[in-house]
Each structure stands twice: as structure tokens, then as C-alpha cells.
Symmetry: C2
């Protein structure tokens, strides 16, 4: 497949994929006779792993490194490498979920208030706030 199909199927953009290659995150792609990059299912997998790890909050180099291990058939090694991060991330995910719950409640509230044309002047009050506690939790 060509770069934009890979992009589409992996949920990213062609520009980003070229950028990954330029940065050495992805290996140099094979080229067809026309000079176009050619990719296969393995490449797709690799880009998807990168996308997944990125969405986990790993930085691009780290994501690329691990996706590379996986592509080399060393998924076990990758996973072992990831274990501490997995454990850490699980609690972050839990925290994020709690945030989202809170957020959704607020949004639902705001929406309801607006639909009833009530005033929503309390957006700056302390009500329901536990200081910046949950923001502090965000900071790694």
C-alpha cells in the first residue's frame, strides 16, 4: 500500500508517517519503481503500535523503539520493558476515567442549565472543587 492508505488505516497522516521515517522512528521505506514508498501489513502493524503507545502518552522515540522491538518479533521483551509503565499507566487511566466522569457530569450540568436558560454564573465558584488536587494528579 502507499503512504496515504497506511495513514488512513493506522489513523494518522501521510505527513506524520514521512516525518517518522525522516526522524528514524520508522525504518526507511521500500520504494516502488516510481519512487513512491511501499508498505505492507507489518508496517501497518508497526505504525498502529506507535499510535497506540503514543495515545498511552509515551513519547515518540520510546514508542518507536518499542514498536521496533515488537516488529523484530521481540514482543515479549517489549512487554517486559513496558511492565512498569503499564502498571503506572493503569492508575493514570483510572485517574483519567475519574476526570472524565467528573467532566461529563459538569458538561451534562452545563448543558442542562443552558437548555433551561438558567443562569450559569457559578462557573467561577469553588463549589465542587477540591482545589487543584486532581490537576496536581495530572502532573507526572
Amino acid at each position: 500500500m502507499r503512504v496515504s492508505e497506511l495513514a488512513r488505516r493506522s489513523g494518522t497522516t501521510a505527513t506524520a508517517i514521512r516525518f517518522y521515517e525522516a526522524e528514524g522512528i520508522l525504518p526507511t521505506a521500500e520504494r516502488g519503481e516510481n519512487g513512491y514508498r511501499r508498505y505492507d501489513e507489518n508496517d501497518l502493524c508497526r505504525v498502529r503500535v506507535i499510535a497506540t503507545l503514543r495515545s498511552l502518552g509515551l513519547d515518540l522515540r520510546e514508542a518507536g523503539r518499542l514498536a521496533g522491538m515488537c516488529a523484530d518479533g521481540r514482543c515479549d521483551a517489549m512487554a517486559i520493558d513496558l511492565l512498569p509503565q503499564i502498571v503506572a499507566r493503569r492508575s493514570e487511566v483510572a485517574a483519567a476515567r475519574a476526570e472524565l466522569d467528573h467532566l461529563d457530569a459538569q458538561l451534562a450540568n452545563a448543558e442542562r442549565a443552558l437548555r433551561m436558560e438558567e443562569s450559569v454564573t457559578n462557573c467561577c465558584t469553588e463549589e465542587g472543587r477540591t482545589d487543584a488536587a486532581h490537576h496536581q494528579a495530572d502532573a507526572d
Copy 2:
């Protein structure tokens, strides 16, 4: 309060707050005799609103603009401005929650597999994947 107290209480950094001021996101702060920036509870509120809106995914200018409206006592106007975004965001939040659920399941799985020293070689398979559908959903 001074800049770093404001930072601490709003869950951001002093540098970011100075940056906001420099960019006109926050109004020019009052200064004490020593030249230090001075902030009050209103400023705290405003920065918090910005932080909240940013965490909703709004870009900084937009967040600043809305926080400004709120600070001007036009919370209603702000909220009305936000309504379509709120509605949109709610579904995004729902999608994100689903992602997180999926993610946590994967993480739990990975963790369990690792702890049992099983092989985790299936990290590149299609299993359990619905193409990049949920990634597509991410793209605004």
C-alpha cells in the same frame, strides 16, 4: 498571591502563566512595589477556567477568550458560546471513556500475561481490532 502560588493552586506552572500574560491570554497583572506580579482569587478562578477549557481540548486563545467572558461576569454568554462545543465534547468524552475502557482491559491483560510469564506475541495481530475506526473517531 504571587505567580507560583497561583500556579500551584491552578495546577499549572509559573512560566506558563507568564507566557499567558505575554500572549495576551491573561490581562497584564498588577505589580507590587518590588515589581512582582500580584494575583487575587479572581485571577485564580480565571486561570482555572483556562485550565479546564484547555483540558477540554480548546485551544489556548479560545480558552482565554471564554475565561475572559466569564471573568467579565458574562458566564451565560460564555456558556452559550460553549454549548455546541459542550455537546460535541460530551460525545468525545464518551468515546474517550470507551477507549480508556478498552485500554485498561488491554493493560490488565498485558499485566496478567507478563506476571504469568506467558508470551505476549499477539501484540501485532488484528484480534480485537476494528481497523482504525476508533482512531478515526479521534480526528476532529
